[in-house]
């Protein structure tokens, strides 16, 4: 009888551990997730606004379809870049990467670059050809003669998803939000890499 009670007692504790504790953990995680969502919301809104503006400007140019004429590709890229630079002539660093989003992203990057996974992420970046780091500014044309540094895929799993028109790129320790059609620096976070 005593043994049965003891087993029931253990089972009760076990069920508490299996069902209640993870639930508590979830409840604890939820506010953090909603905090992150709240911090990223203005950033995501601004990204969407940028893409909307980019598409509007793009619509004023001849449509870019696959072409055998590389001049068309290059000229269109330059024309789009010129229009965006003009439309965003007053843009400043931090206009898209809001303060809250910047802090969150810095934290995510710091966490990603620790431990064994972090070493792999570091290696991903180091394995690309080292090049002279150039200073970047908003509305700069992304230098085409320097090789790209691979953005660590494990980091991208943690950062807010971007529309296909934009990409996260590292140039040295700076995280750049890059317009991949106009090859422009949209915004940046200096010293984002620890």
């Amino acid at each position: 009888m005593k043994r049965r009670i003891r087993i029931t007692h253990h089972l009760l504790w076990l069920s508490l551990l299996v069902f209640v504790v993870p639930g508590l953990a979830d409840r604890k995680r939820q506010p953090q997730d909603s905090e992150a969502a709240r911090d990223f919301k203005p950033f995501i809104d601004r990204v969407q606004a940028y893409v909307k503006m980019q598409k509007k400007l793009e619509a004023s140019l001849p449509a870019l379809k696959p072409t055998k004429d590389p001049a068309q590709i290059v000229e269109r890229q330059h024309a789009l870049a010129a229009k965006i630079i003009e439309a965003r002539r007053d843009a400043l660093q931090g206009d898209i990467f809001t303060h809250e989003a910047t802090e969150r992203i810095r934290r995510i990057i710091r966490k990603t670059f620790v431990g064994p996974e972090g070493r792999r992420a570091h290696k991903t970046m180091q394995q690309d050809t080292p090049f002279k780091v150039v200073a970047m500014h908003v509305n700069d044309v992304f230098p085409e003669n320097i090789p790209l540094t691979t953005t660590p895929p494990t980091l991208m799993l943690k950062l807010p998803e971007l529309p296909p028109e934009l990409a996260y790129r590292f140039v040295g320790r700076t995280l750049v939000l890059k317009d991949i059609k106009a090859e422009l620096v949209v915004d940046l976070i200096p010293n984002a890499l620890p």
């Binding site: 870019l64 379809k65 696959p66 072409t67 055998k68 004429d69 590389p70 001049a71 590709i73 290059v74 890229q77 996974e117 792999r120 992420a121 290696k123 991903t124 394995q127 690309d128 050809t129 085409e144 003669n145 090789p147 790209l148 540094t149 691979t150 953005t151 660590p152 895929p153 494990t154 991208m156 799993l157 998803e161 971007l162 296909p164 990409a167 991949i180 059609k181 090859e183």
Partner: protein
């Protein structure tokens, strides 16, 4: 006696001189009926005379082995991206092939820009990553510079839906590499390889390290690095236990023929020397099956090594690498 020795030496030199060009441009591929035939180039777009020499060799081989298309493993345009660069680094070196109707299917490397996907002759159709079929083979072309969650999800869906006998992936950064300069993309490997295993990808091509390397099968997958079709890091290959064959003394390109369940490959140097060749047998979809590798030039060194790594040799190596 010295005269005789001298004549022997002269004869040997003459024979060597004759045999070199004979060995050069020797085709080891079987040219089977209705096979899928293609060439592989990587890290080629620098516009150097060496790139043109490799392209010339490809043209010479095309007359004997009329491949229908070429897969490009990235760094298609190194340095400038002006219209003249497209011409000097792509259109001119491969003009005879383009004129012969050979199609090129590109992937983006770390020296490329995204807008190259709109260049019609790269056949990317405006996409960063894409898939296409040739006979019983489906190719999955990835952008390893930017492996975001959307691309991973796309790859999984496409692999899942594929009913092709052969599934071949290619992208710029190698998951395995003994190149000293870059080495393997371990982080990318952790993300991609489980998908390759799950959905039965048999062959993976990459570039980035400016050498040629064939890696011993990993989880039944055959990995090739061909990053020396224009660029070269001479002597950069640090052969490891993973290396099945490698070459870092000159520029190279590959020819591939897929006939039914057989995948034949031949790797050729800028001067026309065959530096590796062999055949991969498509494994039946059973857990007990193992990939077979029949090495040719520069293949596995001996049966003991083959046994140690668990591959089955169907013919002894024919030449040193």
């Amino acid at each position: 006696m010295p005269t005789m020795r001298c004549s022997v030496i002269v004869t040997c030199v003459a024979l060597a001189a004759i045999s070199l060009p004979l060995r050069a441009q020797e085709l080891t591929l079987p040219m089977k009926k209705d096979s899928v035939r293609f060439a592989v180039i990587g890290d080629m777009g620098n516009g150097s005379k060496e790139q043109y020499a490799v392209a010339g060799q490809m043209v010479a081989y095309h007359s004997k082995f009329p491949f229908d298309f070429v897969i490009m493993l990235g760094d298609d345009l190194i340095g400038g991206k002006n219209p003249a660069d497209y011409q000097n680094k792509f259109e001119l070196p491969y003009k005879p092939l383009l004129d012969a109707g050979v199609k090129f299917y590109a992937t983006l490397g770390n020296h490329d820009v995204s807008n190259e996907r709109f260049y019609k002759l790269f056949n990317m159709n405006g996409q960063q990553y894409y898939t296409y079929k040739k006979g019983n083979v489906q190719f999955f072309v990835l952008d390893s510079n930017y492996m975001n969650p959307q691309q991973l999800a796309w790859l999984e869906k496409e692999l899942q839906n594929s009913r092709s006998d052969w599934k071949i992936c290619y992208f710029h950064h190698p998951l395995y590499s003994s190149g000293a300069y870059h080495g393997p993309s371990v982080e990318l490997r952790h993300l991609l390889e489980p998908l390759f295993i799950k959905y039965g990808v048999q062959v993976v091509f990459a570039g980035h390290d400016h050498v040629y390397e064939r890696v011993k099968p990993q989880h039944g997958i055959h990995y090739f690095t061909e990053g020396a079709s224009g660029e070269l890091r001479k002597g950069n290959l640090r052969k490891t236990d993973l290396t099945a064959a490698g070459y870092d003394q000159d520029r190279t390109f590959m020819l591939v023929e897929i006939a039914g369940d057989e995948f034949y490959f031949q790797t050729i140097s800028r001067t026309g020397q065959t530096v590796d060749s062999g055949m991969i047998q498509r494994a039946a979809k059973t857990a007990a099956s193992r990939p077979k590798v029949r090495p040719g030039h520069g293949g596995l060194p001996d049966r003991a090594v083959a046994k140690a790594i668990g591959v089955e040799l169907t013919r002894a190596p024919t030449a040193a690498r």
